[in-house]
């Protein structure tokens, strides 16, 4: 360790026989207050946002103590979980732990749930009753679900019609249902309204389910009932679906009256103005809001998400509390793992600058989302963002989606880059 604190310095000097004059000078120094107390940052949530903040605070300034609160000892990512549904990768490659953060980056990791935040007392309470004091708090709790927008739907029903929008047991449940679906059966996705985690995610999932069916259940059909009029990378997905999966996939949107308002578990039926649709497997991805702790700590506004400073990600409601990732209102940025990690870096710089009384560098956020239409066909969307008039805004002329009519080689390159992206970002966040 490169650490060389004052106590060991004095010991060393005493041993070397030049103790007296040096010691008196050092004692003079120690009269300054707080030189010995390291600032303490608590980070709640060990996903793309929180784990990035924890690691990058230590990267920018090793003299800050960082404690990360994350209930899971192993974290399965949402990105890549659609690839698992198609059988392209295994669970192990989607699962990450906190050992590198602990041992390589000296982040203290506590596997508990943060149950309460007291912003006035600057403390966090954990499930086991432990109370942690902080100088700065970063909250990155991801998403929670709104269950009451569809009649007959609930947290319990999500165990029958899985959302699989938080990776883990839900992903395994959906994979099992897809694998066990009868030959020639029907898969129905009830897509979420905006804003939600991972804009192209539902449509990548459709692609991956189609890839699975093409191989194992070629007469199966897929329908999407969507409360939106359009969706991310729509033209590119359509082209891929048509080329690869023919008539297998049907999409209906708000303009068709396809907003599902009611679900019946017994008969496996989804009701909308469009039609009553009965299916063998139903994947309901419900409407979303900020993670639970954000509500409990009073960090949300009327939208159900957390307003933040568009450079530092400090809450505009609670001082010295920062919110990054899906829970934050980050202007034009989509809710994605890549966005969360980018925000985590800006936030880490803000926290370190603030604790050192240094100016905060200008921010520039990025987003990169790859989607696979098949194992050899990747597409992407990019955004580069600046703070313009106090809103994180896309830089004009930058960003955008893959061009239509890419060559097969280009599609394959984007598919390989999608896998490369996954390796890099997970290593950047959890691995090294």
């Amino acid at each position: 360790m490169s650490k060389f604190n004052r106590r060991s310095l004095i010991k060393g000097l005493a041993a070397s026989g030049i103790a007296f004059p040096v010691m008196s000078a050092l004692q003079g120094c120690s009269a300054q207050p707080s030189k010995n107390t390291k600032p303490h940052v608590v980070v709640i949530g060990g996903g793309f946002g929180g784990a990035t903040v924890a690691k990058y605070i230590k990267r920018f300034d090793r003299n800050i103590d960082v404690t990360l609160i994350e209930p899971k000892t192993e974290y399965m990512t949402c990105p890549g979980s659609n690839w698992y549904l198609a059988g392209l990768i295994d669970v192990k490659s989607l699962t990450h732990n906190y050992e590198a953060l602990k041992t390589k980056h000296n982040v203290k990791v506590i596997h508990q749930i943060a149950t309460d935040i007291n912003a006035a007392a600057k403390s966090v309470t954990l499930d086991n009753g432990e109370v942690l004091n902080y100088d700065r708090l970063v909250v990155s709790p991801g998403i929670d679900f709104i269950y009451d927008q569809i009649e007959g739907y609930s947290e319990e029903v999500a165990e029958i019609f899985p959302h699989a929008w938080q990776a883990g047991p839900q992903t395994h449940l959906l994979a099992k249902q897809i694998q066990e679906m009868p030959q020639g059966g029907k898969f129905l996705m009830v897509a979420p309204p905006n804003p939600y985690r991972c804009a192209p995610g539902p449509y990548e999932r459709i692609s991956m389910v189609a890839a699975y069916f093409k191989e194992h259940n070629p007469t199966a059909t897929i329908m999407i009932l969507d409360p939106k009029k359009k969706f991310s990378k729509q033209a590119l997905f359509y082209q891929g679906w048509q080329d690869l999966y023919g008539q297998m996939i049907e999409w209906y949107g708000a303009q068709d009256g396809a907003t599902v308002t009611k679900i019946d578990v017994e008969s496996k039926t989804a009701y909308s103005d469009f039609d009553e649709i009965t299916a063998d497997v139903i994947n309901i991805i419900p409407a979303q809001k900020a993670g639970k702790i954000a509500f409990k700590a009073g960090l949300t506004n009327e939208t159900g998400w957390c307003p933040v400073d568009q450079d530092t990600f400090e809450s505009t409601i609670q001082k010295d509390v920062y919110v990054v990732g899906d829970s934050s209102i980050a202007g034009a940025m989509p809710k994605s793992g890549h966005s969360a990690s980018s925000q985590g870096k800006m936030c880490a710089a803000a926290v370190v600058s603030s604790l050192n009384n240094l100016p905060m560098p200008e921010t520039r956020n990025v987003n990169t989302c790859y989607s696979l239409i098949s194992k050899d066909w990747g597409i992407s969307i990019v955004g580069v963002y600046e703070n313009r008039e106090n809103r994180i805004s896309g830089i004009k002329g930058a960003g955008g989606v893959s061009p239509m009519g890419m060559t097969q080689q280009e599609r394959k390159m984007e598919a390989d880059y999608a896998r490369g992206w996954y390796k890099s970002i997970t290593m950047d966040v959890w691995g090294s």
């Binding site: 004059p21 040096v22 890549h338 956020n365 830089i395 090294s432």
Partner: protein
């Protein structure tokens, strides 16, 4: 008298154990824009610009002038790319120079 004393002590300390004392007393410098922005490159190109084993090229230690030249050519559309042009349109040539210099300074 007092001042001279402290200077003397400083000199002695400096003589015997220069590095650690310097580390202790050194004020942290502001985080540079180039460093902060370059860290977002790591998300695709690997932590600290080092390869994570995928298809995307690592960046650490890449000669800065060549990197800047290539990035500007991608931005201008004279060098082919998939997503990099869409990224680079969000950065001025001066930003590209500064980021390339930072990435080039990293240990490969």
């Amino acid at each position: 008298m007092k001042i001279r004393n402290i200077t003397l002590v400083g000199a002695i300390v400096g003589l015997f154990i220069a590095a650690p004392v310097q580390a202790e007393q050194q004020q942290m410098k502001p985080i540079s824009k180039a460093e902060l922005w370059a860290t977002t490159c790591f998300q695709c190109h690997g932590a600290e610009g080092q390869s994570a084993g995928g298809a995307i090229p690592p960046l650490a230690g890449y000669p800065a002038d060549i990197m800047a030249q290539q990035l500007k050519a991608i931005k201008a559309g004279t060098r082919p790319s998939t997503i990099m042009k869409r990224h680079l349109m969000g950065y001025s040539d001066a930003d590209i120079d500064a980021i390339a210099t930072y990435l080039g300074s990293l240990k490969p």
